[in-house]
Symmetry: D3
Subunit: 191 residues, 6 copies
Amino acid sequence: MKKPISRYPVPEIKDLPEDMRERILKVQEKSGFVPNVFLVLAHRPDEFRAFFAYHDALMEKESGLTKAEREMIVVATSAANHCLYCVVAHGAILRIRAKNPLLSDQVATNYRKADITPRQVAMLDFAMKVSRESERVDEADFAAMRAAGFTEEDIWDTGAVAALFALSNRMANLTGMRPNDEFDALGRSPK
Amino acid sequence: MKKPISRYPVPEIKDLPEDMRERILKVQEKSGFVPNVFLVLAHRPDEFRAFFAYHDALMEKESGLTKAEREMIVVATSAANHCLYCVVAHGAILRIRAKNPLLSDQVATNYRKADITPRQVAMLDFAMKVSRESERVDEADFAAMRAAGFTEEDIWDTGAVAALFALSNRMANLTGMRPNDEFDALGRSPK
Amino acid sequence: MKKPISRYPVPEIKDLPEDMRERILKVQEKSGFVPNVFLVLAHRPDEFRAFFAYHDALMEKESGLTKAEREMIVVATSAANHCLYCVVAHGAILRIRAKNPLLSDQVATNYRKADITPRQVAMLDFAMKVSRESERVDEADFAAMRAAGFTEEDIWDTGAVAALFALSNRMANLTGMRPNDEFDALGRSPK
Amino acid sequence: MKKPISRYPVPEIKDLPEDMRERILKVQEKSGFVPNVFLVLAHRPDEFRAFFAYHDALMEKESGLTKAEREMIVVATSAANHCLYCVVAHGAILRIRAKNPLLSDQVATNYRKADITPRQVAMLDFAMKVSRESERVDEADFAAMRAAGFTEEDIWDTGAVAALFALSNRMANLTGMRPNDEFDALGRSPK
Amino acid sequence: MKKPISRYPVPEIKDLPEDMRERILKVQEKSGFVPNVFLVLAHRPDEFRAFFAYHDALMEKESGLTKAEREMIVVATSAANHCLYCVVAHGAILRIRAKNPLLSDQVATNYRKADITPRQVAMLDFAMKVSRESERVDEADFAAMRAAGFTEEDIWDTGAVAALFALSNRMANLTGMRPNDEFDALGRSPK
Amino acid sequence: MKKPISRYPVPEIKDLPEDMRERILKVQEKSGFVPNVFLVLAHRPDEFRAFFAYHDALMEKESGLTKAEREMIVVATSAANHCLYCVVAHGAILRIRAKNPLLSDQVATNYRKADITPRQVAMLDFAMKVSRESERVDEADFAAMRAAGFTEEDIWDTGAVAALFALSNRMANLTGMRPNDEFDALGRSPK
């Protein structure tokens, strides 16, 4: 009953263009496995490159949001979009980045009940509004973010991460992207 | 930032009526800890007794649904109701009952993408309809269950588990019931 | 075109276990007829007992909410769940308890337009939030209830009645439970 | 706690233009009271005249739909719009026209559970689609109506009654139109 | 691939009753073409007369709302109802009345982003509430309108225009009413 | 009352990095003006580059979908997301690419009523499902696309365009991106 990695053909790493192969092997070296998102999106090299360029521009750069906070946004909005790949993969990353094994399940199920700061609740409120009804984002939402201590650039980051994973969740749901089994053990409570 | 166990007073186990104390100590012996649902609902002994009587009548009895399948219903409907306690606690039980560390996150995020059988998808489709729009349950839904091999009594079980956790999820959300940290490690992948 | 009482077999009262038969006959004596909920749920004796134990624990006990107010909660939330049995049966009880023939139709259709007190509107706002989106119940909702004069225990009662009928409505919709024709005449305006 | 008839000024019948006064007195003679919709809409004579002209054109004329069936459409769609005036007033008319005291509560709460014919269910399915998501009405909806025995003109009638009460429900909700207490006793079960 | 004007028969103008023919010819003289709404609704003369009587009573009379403002209400609510005829036809009228070629697309897509005054935003907020969830219209909504400078009669006008087009949108969606191609060029930006 | 181009600072073209300046000037040369999306996103050069790389990978390449068809997807999904910039800007492009002045308003308001082929309706049904509830995309949706004549790669293109504009719409709504007035006149009906 195990689902395949993708509805689409998945290329062999060795057949990929040099730049993509290099990137993937670097991730593999660091994580011990190749997250399926790389293999699934590699079916379309130009989209692969654009996606990871966008990803790095938001997720790897310096920001008023910590990397754990950005992962919270990914997990909360991906759960709302019922994106299995992103909830499982970024849930693992969030557990590791926040050094908290409980946080991912909390944020995925109901971030209002999670063990996070009021500032982080405000951030997720904003991210969820961008994710679910961006047409209603208005000055009051910006004011609430400023009141929680965020700068204008932090607000862009918050909204842009939600926007990028709006795309990412849809691509994962379109392709039926399956999360690697390896994610499950990462960052969990000691047994 | 850690949230309390309940918005309401939580009684000491030693102060509880004999029958409730016994039940709780038996669970503690078996699990190694007292799941918070017992402590939170113990604030109201009569409701406690009725709730667990209902729970046992559905979750412990013989049924055409395996215990793991009944837990799938709990996890899928509780996720739709954003009930943190039930997703975490019953997610742990489902991992154990199904001997599958991946299943709970799959079912909680998007059961249509989970590694389950078509019969189980039909069961969750029916449970979700009872949970989310029971007013539209009709003969076609019963026919789909029968076509998937369920008896009339199995269909009652499926709907009744969804109905019981409609209650349970609301009580957990009302009281702000916090899942025990201990659930996290249960049934996970080996590290 | 008259619908049956239940999609499931309905036992004969004489064949029921003693405790259930007694309870049912007592109701029949008091009301002049046996409300179908007793017959429909009697198909599963353990669930029957748990349900009515829960029911009595909330609906019959002393509370800061009057019995009429608790019936308002039942009618308003059952109408939102399109539960024919509960709207008709508890609509009759509400008319009788409130000594007001108009109240049930008002509360079922749009409680915000009903001839009730601001305190009762606050109670129904809270009950509806528990019924329809309990995951969003937060401190502001508790504060609104306190401002309307409710104690913490009253708030539990309000939420718990909504939660119990979340279960009850789903069981009625699952079984296709038909309200007795006798309810219609109860508590109506004099002709 | 009794709500007023309207948020807007309600004219005296004697001060109304002749044609309106005549119409109202005729209704009063027939029913024994003046339904509040006449008084509330009379605040705007031109709109009053247009509304009742539209009403008569659909509700009084010969049609493949019986008058009781047209009232079913009014009750079902008005309940979905939570229009207190229309549910109570037309609920009374439906009870009388159908000579069935139970039908209005059934249709208002969940027409799929009502004691009506499959043809009438099809009619209400169509009416509800026009009322709630007319943008999705398509050939399949027309085909379903034809299959249930309705002509093209019957389909127009069904949709047009739903459309007229889309207007009417909104005017009643806008003005806070209160149903007359007298409606409650009409067409009920004998006591 | 061009869709027909109506799902129903469209009468010849010459065959229409005198009063209808006159009205239509007057519009044709003024606009240079006969808007399809006249031809489609003419299939039912009594409904035609009632509709246009209602229309004129609200759209042609003196009001605290300018004619352009009333068209804004039509465009915003018709877009929410996905009514192609009304968005295109009244979009053209709004461009002309407001002497602003950009306004219709703005109001149809997201009136909160349109180049309109705060007073007009308040008016459209109220109109949209009447159009989409009139059951929740309450004193706070009236207060917001008064704060924006509207009188009680202006508020009626706002709600009544939304209500009339709730009907109109449904009739257009029911009949599959096609907007005339001629509307497109009206009131656009100079090339 | 004219809204600004962006909530964020808009850079001068002359201050931009060479590659961005070149791209923008090329667009300006071709269109006669600089579409605001370039100026608004230029606030973040790395995101700008990633966005347009993704855009070109999907919108400029060879595909089983014509360029006009891809623009239909943009207009339909952007309208559902109430994204003013995308509806206006891509509405203009669609009018030009399809050589049909009426199509953009039709597709934005209700694509089911638009003058398009059944194949294009199937394409937009699929795109809308990816845009609005991608978690429910399943084999039946793929089958419907295949039945309409689309290849697996065409289906990816359809979903990916919807996914990219899920991102784009959110960025436009976040920044309050204003469409250039110049778009209005493009591709309209001759006057």
